[in-house]
């Protein structure tokens, strides 16, 4: 309830600020001043505040409040920025190639930011429901552990039963799958296909095996299941880290373009 009230307050505040900015334009026009200067500077300050979040994260020893609070403010300012840019460009694309490029950069920054926010909120929940919590850097070690354990099981099965069905299946199908991250695209869209495919392969083989070998196959299954989960975690955790490598450079590039935009605008009105 408290959270809901806070969200309502924040959204109301954002609408209020943007409405003020919008209607302030008329007043400035009546005063004979181009309102784009006001909301332009407003956007400039906003962009710098948005970029300050990344710097704050690096200077953790400064007593400037929790990063979580900064993140919440960052999201709020991000939404304000969307509204602000629409107002600044008068809800239309105009002003030639430079401005279009600048706007494209800003839109890309906002889109990557929005996607990042969505992924940050949705992916951890999905990860929590699929397999155990794992640190990205540990995944290769976990994978190796699976390889070692499965090979031990297969070797034991070969010693006990001289048939080669399980060993062949392991060598031809499972081993290549274990050595690296597989089915990246499927995991990216949270598809159940990889798991279903392995389940089918196991079931198809099982009906051809003796009861002893079927038992061995059952022993192998949890490890394949774990590997599918590890791949899923790897893809999703990588996504959660990599999006920032696009979002942050785009944000800095936007700042550069914004500075150039300011320079150009003031050059044309003769103030620089």
């Amino acid at each position: 309830m408290k959270k809901l009230a806070l969200r309502f307050f924040v959204v109301s505040l954002a609408i209020l600020i943007l409405a003020t900015l919008y209607y302030f334009q008329d007043i400035r026009v009546a005063q004979g001043v181009n309102p784009a200067y006001d909301n332009g500077w407003f956007l400039f300050v906003l962009l710098n505040l948005l970029l300050a979040f990344n710097i704050r994260k690096k200077l953790i020893f400064l007593p400037l409040g929790k990063v979580k609070t900064w993140a919440d403010i960052h999201y709020f300012l991000g939404f304000l920025f969307i509204g602000g840019i629409l107002i600044h460009f008068n809800f239309s694309l105009s002003g030639g190639l430079f401005n279009s490029l600048f706007l494209l950069l800003v839109v890309l920054t906002l889109v990557t930011g929005g996607l990042g926010l969505y992924w940050s909120r949705s992916i951890p929940k999905r990860l929590s429901n699929r397999g155990e919590y794992v640190v990205l850097e540990r995944i290769p070690y976990e994978r190796q552990e699976i390889v070692n354990t499965m090979e031990r099981i297969v070797e034991t099965s070969l010693e006990q039963d001289k048939t080669i069905e399980i060993a062949s299946f392991y060598r031809d199908r499972i081993k290549p799958f274990l050595l690296d991250v597989s089915d990246k695209n499927d995991h990216l869209v949270s598809s159940d296909k990889p798991m279903a495919s392995w389940k089918k392969q196991f079931n198809d083989l099982k009906i051809q095996l003796s009861s002893h070998n079927a038992g061995i196959l059952d022993q192998l299954w949890p490890y394949v299941e774990r590997k599918v989960h590890l791949d899923y975690h790897h893809v999703k955790l990588t996504l959660l880290r990599k999006w920032l490598f696009i979002h942050i450079p785009l944000a800095y590039l936007s700042l550069v373009f914004m500075l150039l935009h300011v320079l150009i605008v003031f050059s044309f009105v003769g103030e620089v």
């Binding site: 007593p63 990063v67 979580k68 540990r138």
Partner: protein, 580 residues
């Protein structure tokens, strides 16, 4: 500098040893012998001389004791009205009054929070951040060499000192030959008094490790300390128990006299043979010693002095855990009170089992009736609210617990002994994106090497990470030969003095939760430090809750998703509400 067999650059330094860094200026043999002839150490001398005919033999046998005094104690001289220690601060040492008097006061604890802490200033932090070497775990070579610790009893600011000397109601005075602060030093618990010198004083300050070692070599001294604890410490401890507050000093001393002190379970409950954390719940329940059995006659009131107790209830086919009790809590109170009220007799409603090692103060029912219920019944009735899961409507509460999804969490916390943690690192896995900002923040504050590992035991969506939990009863402290690992006086955080750590791994082996890691250390140039035998120099490292940093704990502050929090795991409610 040299290259070792593995071809990585290395530098040879002297391996740090116990007592490389004495506590203070070294005491002379003559002074120590003189000390041994006075209270309370004369027992040691008497004990040792009883069967010894020649002086040389006696000297040889006293040598370990002399070494303890030389390295674990120091003489300090303080003027009148100088604070020695403050109530609620953690005690790491005891003080023997060699000359003068020390007054003990109560009630200064509220002022303690006003004390200046040892946190680094912003500028200091900025400078050390800029100066920080790129290599992890860099140590100064000079720091590895022995040096003498100097200084006097500290830990109190000037303003607090002014306040302390204005205290008037002296609770007790420690005269020449007496000991101050021994109970909290022995138990590594907060001070129960504030001690201020009444006149110019000469004091012998002994670290708790010194006391431990002295008790180890001298049975007589051990008996003296235990007797002292019984006379003074027990009474002080009892006076802090809520059901005993307001019953008067005379009654309290009778209770202390009649009380029986009992211990249950093994001190080293996680020795390699026990393997208790891997057992099933039923096996754990069988292993844990029963303190009181359900349906037995409630013949005494039992107060937990140290450790944790599991409360279980019998069901037709099993035994379930319904909660746990912690130091200061009472067992059998509800039943005793019920029987006192003549509302019909009831036996114990639950079983109580020792989780790890538990010390219990047992007060006979007749004494409870006479000295507690008769004078303090109303207050006692009120305190029963704290034990709601043990009281009258227990069957309803029990079913709630069993049906409640938190039962899994409760069981896991108790079975893995996580209830010991006061500042455990809990990660909400449904909010954690694995960005490693917490790891980087920790690393930036601690020699470029994080003091925790982002993995651990997962209970539903909560992960209790491998970071020091700053336990109520830190097992890691017990065996440290040098006292390097200790409690911070002010906040009680368990911290390691890197300069004194000899890398013996005792603390790391003692930590049941594997939250202490041994690291190799490097010099400024990135050379690994080796001893004369080509073995790497190690240091114990662990989370210190960033107690010296302006922002603490950095891991919690740095999390951009609010997915990490340091929580007291005894507070199940807080844990559940944060995780939901």
């Amino acid at each position: 500098m040299k290259n070792n067999n593995n071809n990585f650059p290395a530098i040879v330094v002297q391996r740090p040893k116990k007592w490389d860094v004495p506590f203070g200026r070294e005491l002379t043999d003559e002074f120590i012998y003189k000390l041994l002839s006075t209270e309370p150490f004369q027992q040691i001398l008497q004990e040792k001389t009883s069967n010894e005919s020649d002086l040389e033999k006696q000297k040889k046998r006293l040598q370990p004791i002399i070494n303890i005094f030389k390295n674990e104690s120091r003489v300090i001289q303080l003027p009148a009205d100088h604070p020695l220690y403050v109530e609620t601060n953690y005690g790491n040492s005891a003080f023997i009054v060699l000359k003068g008097r020390v007054n003990l006061y109560r009630g200064a604890s509220s002022k303690v929070s006003a004390q200046s802490t040892s946190k680094k200033g912003l500028l200091g932090r900025l400078v050390s951040h800029l100066k920080m070497p790129r290599m992890p775990e860099v140590r100064s070579i000079e720091k590895q060499q022995p040096s003498v610790t100097t200084g006097s009893a500290s830990g109190v600011s000037r303003s607090l000192r002014k306040y302390l000397i204005s205290l008037e109601d002296v609770e007790r005075t420690v005269e020449q030959g007496g000991i101050a602060g021994i109970v909290s030093a022995m138990r590594r618990s907060p001070r129960t008094f504030t001690a201020v010198t009444a006149e110019d004083c000469h004091l012998l300050e002994i670290k708790w490790q010194g006391l431990r070692d002295l008790m180890g070599v001298s049975k007589a001294f051990k008996e003296y300390c235990e007797k002292f604890y019984r006379q003074r410490g027990l009474q002080t401890e009892l006076s802090k128990i809520d059901v005993l507050q307001g019953i008067g000093k005379a009654s309290l001393s009778v209770i202390a006299e009649k009380a029986v002190f009992e211990s249950f379970g093994k001190r080293n409950w996680l020795d390699p043979g026990s393997n208790v954390l891997n057992e099933s719940v039923n096996q754990i329940l069988e292993i844990e010693p029963t303190i009181l059995q359900e349906e037995e006659y409630a013949s005494s009131l039992n107060i937990i002095s140290n450790g944790f107790i599991r409360v279980t209830k019998k069901l037709p086919n099993s035994e379930v855990t319904v909660g746990f009790l912690k130091p200061g809590d009472c067992l059998g109170l509800y039943e005793l009170l019920h029987n006192y009220d003549d509302a019909g007799h009831i036996d114990l409603q639950h079983s109580y089992k020792a989780i790890g090692c538990v010390d219990v103060i047992r007060i006979p029912a007749v004494v409870v009736h006479e000295y507690i219920f008769k004078v303090n019944k109303e207050k006692v009735t009120k305190t029963l609210d704290r034990y709601d899961f043990l009281t009258n409507n227990q069957s309803q509460k029990l079913s709630e617990t069993l049906l409640n999804k938190n039962a899994v969490l409760l069981n896991k916390l108790i079975n893995h002994r996580y209830i010991n943690g006061t500042k455990a690192m809990v990660i909400n896995t449904e909010a954690c994106v694995g960005c490693d900002d917490c790891v980087r923040a920790c690393s930036a504050n601690h020699d470029n090497n994080p003091r925790f590992v982002r993995q651990g035991v997962k209970v539903e969506k909560l992960l209790i990470a491998n970071a020091c939990m700053h336990c109520v009863d830190p097992l890691c402290l017990i065996g440290c030969p040098t006292g390097a690992i200790h409690r911070n006086k002010l906040g009680g955080e368990v911290i390691i003095n890197d300069d004194v750590c000899i890398g013996c791994t005792t603390c790391a082996n003692n930590c049941p939760y594997e939250n202490i890691r041994m690291v190799h250390v490097f010099d400024q140039q990135g050379n690994v430090m080796l001893d004369e035998e080509n073995k790497p120099i190690c240091k114990a490292t662990k989370c210190d809750l960033c107690y010296q940093q302006p922002v603490s704990p950095a891991c919690e502050v740095a999390c951009p998703h609010g997915a990490l929090k340091r929580l007291d795991l005894q507070n199940l409610q807080e844990l559940v509400s944060w995780g939901s």
